[in-house]
Symmetry: D2
């Protein structure tokens, strides 16, 4: 019966390529102060979160995205104690960070209504992380939080923010000025990682601009990527460091990986390092961009 | 005007996930003796070939598929002179093989009507390769051709066949018996490569069976993969060798790559080797299968 | 925002013609003992009820369907006091019947869960009719109810049943045997009317069979039809009478119409009689069918 | 095989209701000087013509549209000899007109490329009418033709024009000024009929304006309508006359119908007169509009 459901969610990748997902159960919709959030069960992907009509996270492979986002940074640093996550409303980034022996993880997401909705409907994502005693969850603008922060320096900072759409809340969270401030709140050997959008060769604008920006602030910047099936795209990540060249820390990473290997499903150090060997177009795009500034923020176009 | 075309081609990935491509121009359709072939210009992917409703090859990224299929095998062998391509009707596999200083490339495809259609409508694929004096294009069953072949042994054999669908012509081209015969027609250091279907973690059946089968015949078998955007999938390739361990020939490959590097757009040896580091599920699946035999041929289910 | 909803409900008219409705709000779904019921707000039609994926009733034009179903029979009879509705779960057939000065209306619908759902989510349909003191709402098989009924004879019987799908509850509610029993429970001048499915010229099978069946039992049988926009179809109705020739009672109907004319939105006697002038194919089909019997019940095919 | 074609033509009725037709064969596309014309075979409707993406005419029921457009006017006039068709590029309006014993039919259509395309691909529409010796087919602006015309007065004028879209060629063919000129080129008992767009209750703007306009010029104006399945709409027609009240000529029409009854498939005088009994909303809309003038032409919005 349900298999014959005639309810479909349509995601136009562009005006000329559409994805249509058959909906098993439409669960919740909420227009928060910042975005339109919809949660539904898709036959193809399981439970799935859409923001403003774009697929954000699907049960079938959210672990790939979140493991690839979190663990490289956490393993490249020798001993991350104090961690900051910007965005990450579903709670899965937090979940992965807490797999490491950290002292404290700040998660700063501006959209309280979204986080509450995820807490209610996405238990497989957060798995109770919001209530872990090491978690401090704050609902505020991440820039403001960082500017005012005067606690212990961050060892690892994870940027799990949406693309900076026009007038969206993330628009000043990808600029040189912001990264300069952020860098000052990080420890000497702090590591920063950011989800960085599509890694397809017909859309590399954002990685170009973002890698150019990070290079203005951090001595070491490297890219990696992975294919996320439910995104139907190769996805880019940029990792930046004040002290370590990430690409030279394979042995260190392997050693530290032993400590968490029973808690992850997908990532291995070998696999991660293979994913730092970029397709030619992506490697080139890492050297072609113009830094993003507060004066000229990057505006992401669908 | 054309941008507003309301003609769509729909490809059901499964019953529960559909892709819809806006059609710029519908060019040709032919029901050949073996399949339904359709060629059209899509806004998203450029000129595109569909067989039995499944996307086979798109202008936007056919070079990724064909470079990844052909060059690793051609570069791992020290001096491929005599090459066999099974399938490959569009002529692009042939085009890539001819970039090497070969003496002769046999292309054996059972579907003459399809090859003629590709010759007429897919000039960017074959680029005249069918008429290269080193090419011998034959329209016959590849198994029959191999069984009867008594010419110089093949240095490289490239299997660019469709999945073995029920009652389709490829059904006995993936069996242990066939590979045993084929192996005897290959040189001592011959290398075999096969496109091997989806490399997604929810569909690894075919790689399992195929790698188990190849291991029955060839001492060395390795897998690699790449994401093909127009397939919306990670795609698997299996490479097998009588003499060389492909994964140990990085330096050799780098050296030989110098000879063709100006003629390729995408592949590099570094990138290829990174793509031999498989995701865990794929690595595992390479050790789990049961060999395919003439008695129990693999039947691919959509 | 909502206008950009990407949720669609798809109704395949046939495998080759699909309707897609953009969904404003998906309200409720329930698998009752008898059918899959879904209620949603469509941008095009307002609140809409689907049963087993087929559109049943839409806010935008349910009044056309229900006025055309109920009032002709009620106005052709000189003084309907005791009325029976079979089916009609939304409550709108009941609502229209109660606009007349009746003593009692029985509504017999087998699907209690559906009626409860309609009561909750379709207030514009029933408008409180379920609680009108003249209403007697029963949840049972209409055939059983009629067979056992021994109250005052019915002046008007309204069949607002779904098409008799295989193994569905309506399968024995369209047979000669049933109509014979029913006829005996009707007054001398009783009038029967039935929604009778599509009136399109490429699908007249059901009207053929049904009119042949009614003619076995009732001396007078006439057809009429109207276009229901949300059905995207001309819809047929058959009206049968023991004593009156419906087509000859125009003046009587006009007179009685005065009593309800302020309570209806759409129907007029002139308009109704114009709708009894059938397209040629429909007129012909009323004389071509074979009666439906308990032994050979009609099975409706989508 | 063909039944499984995955080629679809999509017609958005509005942004919120889409029709999708499975395409059996895509036959021809041409961007003429005036519009985008596409001809294809649909499984649901047979051969079908689309103009600017809107369905114009389908094999399955073009006879309903064309019989209802042409014969009422031709039968209401006692002896139409000299006939003018404006538009009607498919040739089916001409075909129907030639079923009467006329002396001459002018067909004036601005789009020569479209007419040529229809002549080649829509033989079931024109059935050779373009070459009937009574036909005079002219490719020019109908307004210009009428203004310059000084031949015998027209007994019947049939307006089979597209809706007056912005900057389209029909924009000045629906104005009071044009009808005044046209009226002078018609005989004393001349009859004019025009296809008049949707007759649905949520879209009556055009009938309102058009009937108000015709009433400025002609003493008698009446409306009728019919459901055209492939349009998925009730369709309106307006008929205007200098001398006769169309609604009072039923007996005359019946008599004259005898002469063509073997040559038509659908229409009968009884049926036609039933279709002049309008739904209330349509009747009301015939008395509510403001005349269209050259200064304020009607611009049709999708």
């Amino acid at each position: 019966m349900e298999e014959d459901s005639n309810l479909w969610f349509e995601e136009p990748y562009t005006k000329e390529l559409r994805y249509q997902y058959r909906v098993k159960r439409y669960i919740a919709r909420k227009r928060t102060k910042f975005q339109e959030a919809e949660i539904m069960d898709l036959f193809a992907f399981g439970r799935t979160l859409f923001l403003d009509g774009k697929l954000q996270s699907a049960e079938i492979d959210e672990h790939i995205y979140h493991e690839m986002l979190v663990h490289p940074a956490m393993l490249l640093h020798p001993e991350p104690k104090n961690v900051l996550i910007m965005g990450g409303g579903e709670g899965a980034t937090l979940r992965e960070a807490l797999k490491h022996p950290v002292k404290r993880v700040y998660m700063v997401d501006i959209d309280e209504e979204l986080v509450n909705m995820c807490e209610e409907y996405l238990p497989k994502w957060h798995k109770g992380s919001f209530n872990d005693e090491r978690s401090i969850v704050l609902f505020k603008d991440a820039r403001k939080f960082v500017e005012e922060y005067d606690g212990e320096p961050f060892d690892v900072v994870i940027s799990d923010l949406p693309e900076p759409v026009e007038e969206g809340p993330a628009i000043y969270l990808f600029t040189k000025e912001f990264y300069s401030i952020l860098s000052k709140k990080m420890s000497e050997d702090g590591i920063f990682v950011s989800q960085s959008g599509s890694a397809e060769y017909f859309y590399t604008e954002f990685i170009r601009a973002l890698s150019a920006t990070l290079k203005e602030v951090f001595p070491y910047v490297a890219g990696y990527y992975d294919y996320i099936f439910s995104f139907q795209l190769n996805w880019a990540f940029l990792i930046a460091s004040k002290k370590y060249n990430p690409l030279e820390r394979k042995e260190e990473m392997k050693k530290r990986f032993e400590g968490i290997k029973d808690r992850v499903k997908y990532i291995t150090p070998e696999y991660f390092f293979a994913k730092t060997v970029l397709p030619k177009y992506m490697e080139e795009s890492m050297n072609m961009g113009v830094p993003i500034t507060d004066e000229k923020p990057y505006v992401w176009k669908a």
